[in-house]
């Protein structure tokens, strides 16, 4: 579970930013309100991947 502490990870931490890597799972990008409404309507749990281009 290698994780990066936000407070400590200034420049060295992380994985690269990849915007194109999302074909398999239909991610909603950066819109909690919309994703939450959809999860409620579809009666499904909401999976959240919190990341940053580090």
């Amino acid at each position: 579970m290698k994780f990066r502490m936000i407070a400590l990870a200034i420049l060295l931490a992380g994985t690269a930013a990849i915007a194109s890597a999302r074909q398999v799972l239909p991610f909603v990008e950066n819109d909690y309100t919309r994703a939450l409404a959809r999860a409620k309507a579809d009666n499904l749990p909401l999976f959240v991947d919190a990341w940053a281009p580090w």
Binding site: F3, T15, A16, L25, F47, D49, A52
Partner: protein
Amino acid sequence: MRAYVFTDKALGRYAGRFVWLSIDTENAANAAFLKKYPIPALPTMLVVDPRQQAVVMRYAGGATVAQLQKLLDDGEHAYRARGSSADTLLSSADNLASEGRNAEAVKVYEKAIAAAPKKWGRLGRATESLTFTMMLNRESDRCATLARDLYPRLKGTTSGANVASTGLSCALDIDAQNASRAVLVKTLEADTRQAFDDPRVRAKMSGDDISGLYDALISARADAKDEAGAKALREHWAAFLEKEAATAKTPEQRAVYDSHRLSAYLALNTPEKAIPMLEQSQKDFPDDYNPPARLALAYNAMGRFDDALAASTTALRKAYGPRKIGIYRTRADIFAAKGDKAGARKTIEEAIAYARTLPEASGTTRTIAALEKKLAAMPQ
């Protein structure tokens, strides 16, 4: 995760079972989300029950495809609330942790582990989350003690490896005057080493995670003042990372190792080795601020200050969010190394002005205070 995991076709069967949300923690559009669910480490994965907006599963850290499948199964299980009492307690602890209520979360994780049936399939995750939350709470002694006590039950698993290495990091943070420190460091270094040397465990870990084990083991050798041992491990680490990067199937996968490799090269005092890979990443990902930000660090370590400043200018142009402050800090360091005191001061002033434009959810109050302190200590 994005380069290696979310693209895997094996996850296709989960596509219709969740609504999928990606949150870039640097993006100001996510300020409200981050206020509600503070994210202390990256990546963090959550499963939220949309009816109460309650987190039912939370995991801080990356995962392989197999690990993610288990997390998704766990999350679905928790959402349907069909578990044992240990499962329910684990879910409650995850929810408390997701609200930043870490002291309460620690107590409930402990209860979940105490209530666990024999061969509980979630003992590994519960222990990982508990040690991590204790680390956040700066309860280093308790974190290391717990890791030492539970590692034998998790031996041979990836969770065991993570618990040992997190425990080792905690042990190294214990106050030097504390009598328990030496024995905890020694035991947890041996445990981490055992996981590191176990081919069954390594086969199940991502390259990223194995890199984390190197990190903890190198810190332990440095702490023991074993410079030769630390150097040998750093060299081994760099060679491992180069091999992983060489077998990457896409530029995205190769670039995952840039940050680790730069750390290794800086630690080995061979920053020049980082230049070709970073220049390649800069070409492959022209919009990404990471390659020029890392080039600035490498050039600075090489004493090529003008190249470092040029790379830093490029990085600042592309960067956004709280991360940009780190780039300003490096820039100030470059000016200082160059002997340009006025440039260093001006850069920190710019960083403060920029930090004031960020939403409060990014923890900017503390950042601004730290920058102001730095500025006050700088020569005129």
